[in-house]
């Protein structure tokens, strides 16, 4: 018995010593970000770096749920997580709270500029806050206009380039089909992040924006009102969207479009694979994708999404974490993510890569959209900015506020956040 005890103790000590030798890194990603593919990518890294073991911690399914948990971890300065995959809207917040280890200390100015040049410009911009490099991009995302190819062909219509065209086409098809279950233009209107993009799209499509490069608020009340009025008109004036848009979440639109109930839908990239590959999809091969429409005299604009790798400032292995982040944000990994997880690459060249196109032929159409995508306001108090915008659109769609009243509140709310 005694012998057994000493043996057990020896094994314990020995395994402890082995564990001591290897550097352990912990990577945090969301539940929807394909932990299975990420594991493969990290296994490859471990093979090349024998001294390093990388664990994955999988968080909630949505950006909000993940951040709720991360806020607890980071606000308590917990060192257990080394590398975090964050939403494109967060680097400013991470910089302000000093949660991120800035990457500049590992990258001299010249090589930083060289590195950032390779990515899609929007991401190079989104990850530099006040001149500091906070994170490096993992994969891209953007909002697209999905449309029913079969229905547009039936009525001899070309995919719309302006919102007026889109509305007219939807009206033509709805009048011709006489199908009570078919709707025209789907967009997000519930209280969620997607509704922030809905609010911003008409503003961008008309050539406006919320703030300028110096971070000054430039949105006018008239622009905000026009945006709110535009979405309201789709329901009440043009009758191309049903009257209950205030309860539509992104995935509700996706499910309904998949069941053949929308002509147009403004959705992020993930919808494509669901339309093509889900067993219950009624629209396999019937969906086309184009850049979001613009207004007459404006420009086409999409809402930029995407995910970034940042190093926790509380990590105890920052140098090793940096090496890992460089690997995870490399063209090699971007290609694996594109092929195995259908994530849009952050390197323009990969959109022409034959292997990538073989797995995702539609990526060829996606590049111009991602290149034209606009970033939501970059501001440390972004969650408050977003709350003002999504609540305003939601209230207008629920018809509890007029576009005039809601626009006034948007400007008032934003001025309080930006400072006049």
């Amino acid at each position: 018995m005694k012998k057994l005890f000493w043996l057990a103790l020896a094994v314990l000590v020995a395994s402890g010593a082995v564990a001591q030798q290897a550097t352990r890194l912990r990577v945090f990603i969301g539940g929807q970000q394909r932990p299975d593919v990420m594991r493969k990518i990290l296994d490859a890294y471990q093979q090349r770096n024998p001294g390093v073991r990388v664990e994955i911690e999988v968080g909630g399914a949505t950006s909000d749920q993940q951040q709720q948990y991360l806020t607890t971890v980071l606000a308590s300065r917990d060192p257990s997580i080394d590398v975090i995959l964050i939403d494109v809207i967060r680097p400013a917040q991470y910089a302000a709270a000093k949660w991120s280890d800035t990457l500049d200390k590992y990258l001299p100015a010249a090589s930083r500029a060289n590195l950032l040049k390779q990515y899609l410009p929007a991401y190079a911009k989104a990850n530099v806050i006040n001149g500091q490099l906070i994170a490096l991009p993992s994969f891209a995302d953007a909002q697209f206009l999905y449309y029913r190819k079969d229905l547009l062909e039936k009525y001899n219509l070309k995919p719309p380039t302006t919102w007026d065209e889109a509305i007219k086409q939807a009206q033509t098809i709805l009048a011709g089909e006489r199908n009570p279950n078919l709707n025209g233009i789907g967009f997000m209107g519930n209280i969620s992040e997607g509704t922030v993009c809905s609010f911003l799209l008409p503003i961008w499509a008309a050539g406006g924006d919320v703030d300028d490069d110096s971070g000054k608020l430039i949105l006018t009340e008239a622009q905000a009102r026009n945006s709110l009025q535009f979405w309201l008109d789709l329901m009440d004036k043009h009758k191309v969207s049903p009257p209950n848009m205030a309860e539509k979440a992104q995935d509700t639109i996706r499910q309904e479009m998949q069941a053949g109930r929308w002509v147009f839908g403004t959705l992020f990239a993930y919808a494509w694979n669901r339309f093509q590959n889900d067993a219950d999809s009624q629209v396999k091969g019937k969906i086309g994708v184009v850049p979001l429409p613009r207004f007459e005299g404006g420009r086409s604009a999409s809402c930029l999404g995407g995910w970034q790798w940042t190093i926790s400032d509380f990590s105890k292995n920052k140098a090793q974490a940096y090496k890992l982040v460089r690997y995870l944000s490399s063209p090699e990994v971007s290609k694996v993510l594109a092929i195995e997880a259908s994530n849009l690459p952050v390197f323009p060249s990969l959109y022409k890569d034959p292997d990538v196109l073989k797995a995702n032929p539609w990526f060829a159409d996606a590049l111009p959209v991602v290149q034209a995508a606009r970033a939501r306001p970059v501001h440390p108090r972004y969650p408050e900015v977003a709350d003002v915008m999504r609540k305003a659109l939601n209230a207008v769609l629920a018809r509890t506020k007029t576009p005039e009243a809601a626009a006034k509140e948007v400007i008032g709310g934003l001025q309080a956040i930006y400072g006049k």
Binding site: A97, N190, R381, P383, K391, N394, A395, L397, A398, T400
Partner: protein
Amino acid sequence: MTRPQPRYRRSLGDLSERALAFWLLVPAGLLLGLIALYPVLRLVYTSFFQYQLTLGPEASFNGLENYATALRDARFWNALKNTSLIVLITVPGALVVGLGLALLANLPFRVKWPVRLGLLLPWALPLVFVGLIFQWFFDSQYGVVNDIIVRLGGERQFWLFRPDLAFWAICFTIIWKTSSFVALILLAGLQTIPKELYEAAEVDGASPFQRFWRVTLPLLTPAILVALIFRTITAFQTFDIPYAMTKGGPGNATETLAMYVRVTSIENLNFGYGSALAVLLFLLSMAITVVYLRYVRGADE
């Protein structure tokens, strides 16, 4: 011949019994201090600071500024109004429905378990789960509520994004969920009432209504009070059900205080102001509890 009881043993026994009680209570006291008292004190402490991570990780003392901000904050008053209305409607609502259920469950059924199971089920369901279920019930397009209305020849209603309808849908859900809790407490109270009292009342010629009014209700008062205290405190903290059903929408029309505290602290990272809001919510719950306890003590005397 009795052996003389050694004196020291008794006094030492006494002492050790006290000491024992003390030492046995220490862990519970420490635990309570650690998980209840410390966070509350820390919350109050934080509420005196300007501490918003999106402006930087440093905190600076700003006295009662956060409280002054709250008093000027229209969103705070709106949340307070919503919370108070939920308390005013769902607490009496749950009491009336719960009392009915308890009386029903107390009837001498031959098979008791179906009624008791029916009572336990809503109580055992997690709050968020209930919120999600009723969100589907009240969905304007796919919900069963509208389906019934349309089948009966009525008009489709936008339950969750008309502010008044959303409010009533939330209250209905809360009453459905919490009345079983009230019923369980009242059922326990009902079973402590001796049967002889009813027999005596019947002999004296009391009608069923008089028996309920003169016998059941007075003897049930302590149980009712307990149920009311618990229900009121949880009603002030209402979060899960409106969060799952409307996220506070449309706009902020159904946002409660607890939801505003969460948005301020967890999403906006404004811990100072969020703490002040939480302290105000805490004070409100405490005030109500004190009023109830006063009343209980008065009733006892």
